[in-house]
């Protein structure tokens, strides 16, 4: 394999992981934009997606597609429960209080997952075999294609949802002006709940499509959550293209860092980017001020 092949290999697999980060990051952005909360428990719903998938597929022997749909559903409902039980009772909390409660909540969810499912790592089967494909001189697995396809599908669907449906518009309205949203009859609390449903559902999907490649366990949410957070920060917390690009950039840089320097640097890349962005450009790489935040 020559050098350029190697690079394209890193870039393609980086894009696949980046797509996962983008999905998780969109979850951060959706909740942040409709509530102002940075939900540090977001990663746990990613974990729940994978773990519920394993649970329904291997323990209950559901067919893979059914198991995965059930997993998304259960994780999304967990997200709603989390909002009802942990966030809503604290609506008047300070920002720091909310950060603490989401971190506390994430520790609790992780702990419960460990008690129920143990500390073992589990694998989900790939969606359609392991026969490698070759693309631009690089080798990819069919699962990578699934990741690309499902991520693109989800991003397009969410764009259409926010742009063209009345509920999507209502969510955006809550994001800009909760008071005015209430005055036109939008039930702001229901919208907040709904944004948790969307975010945890998206996160769960991310956790499921990556599980066949990386395995899953009760504690994968910490790192995946952090990567998604980083994607959202690069994108300036926009729930659109910014965060998607943020995820892809992060995924590629990480793959290049791991491939060209040392695999030990994989996670360090995230932290370096996170710190650089927070110091130098806290509004994100792509944002042009308020009106971009949609």
């Amino acid at each position: 394999m020559d050098f350029s092949q190697q690079i394209s290999q890193y870039i393609l697999s980086g894009l696949a992981t980046g797509a996962i980060y983008a999905l998780i990051g969109l979850g951060f952005a959706i909740i942040y934009n409709s509530t102002g909360i940075i939900n540090f428990a977001q990663g746990e719903f990613v974990m729940l997606g994978g773990m519920f998938g394993v649970y329904f597929h291997t323990v209950h022997n559901f067919n893979l597609a059914v198991a995965l749909l059930l997993a998304i559903l259960f994780a999304a409902v967990s997200g709603v429960l989390f909002e009802r039980l942990a966030i809503r009772p604290l609506r008047r909390a300070t920002p720091l209080g909310l950060v603490i409660i989401t971190i506390g909540g994430s520790i609790l969810v992780r702990g419960l997952a460990m008690l129920v499912w143990g500390k073992d790592t589990h694998a989900l089967p790939t969606f359609s075999g392991d026969e490698p494909l070759s693309l631009a001189g690089a080798t990819l697995l069919p699962q990578h294609m699934w990741i690309f396809a499902l991520t693109v599908l989800l991003i397009v669907l969410s764009k259409l949802f926010f742009q063209f449906t009345i509920t999507g518009k209502a969510l955006r309205a809550c994001a800009v002006n909760q008071r005015a949203a209430g005055l036109v009859g939008i039930d702001v609390r229901r919208m907040v709940m709904f944004s948790f449903l969307l975010a945890s559902g998206m996160g769960a999907l991310a956790g499921i499509i990556i599980a066949p490649l990386t395995m899953t366990s009760y504690d994968v949410g910490i790192m995946l959550g952090l990567k998604g957070f980083c994607a959202a920060i690069i994108g300036g917390m926009s729930n659109g293209l910014g965060t998607v690009l943020g995820g892809l950039i992060l995924g590629v840089l990480e793959a290049l860092g791991a491939g060209l320097i040392s695999s030990g640097y994989k996670d360090a890349v995230t932290f370096i980017i996170l710190l650089l962005i927070l110091f130098l450009r806290p509004q994100g790489l792509f944002s042009r001020g308020e009106s971009e935040r949609v």
Binding site: I166, K169, A170, R172, A173, V176, N177, R179, A180, A181, G182, L183, V184, G185, I186, D187, E290, S291, R293, V294
Partner: protein
């Protein structure tokens, strides 16, 4: 017919007693104005009616039924819409999206796109400038246009009672005239009842049938608009006439 009856309401912000035993009423089809200085409690009255700021005691009856324990959504659903102070349009959304969101509960009720579309056309007829700018982001509109949009958004819910909080604030006299003439049209054509909060007392009293004067959380005068325009106390405090001028008449 009495549409709204407010009986002895008291509203607090923590320790601050913002409304003290306020009573007022509106008849079907009336334009009633509420005037008072800064901090008198005008906005608080509207927010109490919209259930944004809950009352601590007293009663609010709308078409004979108590509404003070309902949620803000339910109030809109019953037919009371508020145009808040400072417009508060959804700035990063388009003009048309803002208007559609005004009909949010009608979408929820599955009222049918055709009927909502018809209301939209109605708003564009009242405010042709919004039609020209329907694809523009609301944040890029001028102050006057944003006020028209805020009113249009509230009207999209087809309210029976429209609460307007200082629609003339910061606008040029000509624009104020335009907006006030639309308000007059509303009552005339659609039979909408209007509660108009204003600091621009003169313009408001010319438009209104009746008025209330609010001072530090209390209603101190209730009269027909014509009488209020003649009232010396009101002339001195709210119409900016000098004592001398009043004596000379």
């Amino acid at each position: 017919m009495e549409m709204l009856k407010v009986k002895h309401i008291n509203t607090y912000y923590g320790q601050v007693h913002a409304l003290k035993n306020v009573s007022l009423h509106l008849n079907q089809g009336e334009i009633v104005t509420l005037i008072g200085a800064n901090g008198a409690g005008k906005t608080t009255i509207l927010n109490s009616l919209s259930a944004v700021t809950p009352i601590r005691s007293g009663e609010i009856l709308f078409e004979g039924n108590p509404i003070h324990a309902l949620s803000p959504e339910k109030i809109v659903d019953l037919g009371i819409s508020q145009v808040p102070e400072g417009r508060q349009v959804f700035k990063p959304l388009t003009v048309e999206d803002n208007l559609e969101l005004g009909a949010y509960l009608r979408y929820r009720r599955r009222e049918g796109r055709a009927r909502i579309r018809a209301s939209l056309d109605e708003i564009y007829r009242l405010f042709p400038r919004l039609l020209e700018r329907r694809r523009q982001l609301a944040g890029t509109l001028s102050g006057g246009e944003q006020q028209m949009l805020a009113i249009g958004r509230a009207l999209m819910a087809r309210p029976k009672l429209l609460l307007l909080d200082e629609p003339s604030m910061g606008l040029a006299p000509l624009v104020v005239q335009e907006i006030f003439s639309v308000i007059a049209t509303l009552t005339r054509e659609l039979g909408t009842t209007v509660l108009l909060v204003e600091q621009n007392a003169k313009a408001a009293l010319k438009l209104a049938d009746r008025g209330y004067v609010l001072e530090t959380g209390k209603v101190i005068i209730e009269e027909s608009a014509g009488d209020l325009l003649e009232n010396r106390e009101v002339q001195r405090a709210y119409l900016g006439k000098e004592k001398k001028e009043i004596w000379e008449r």
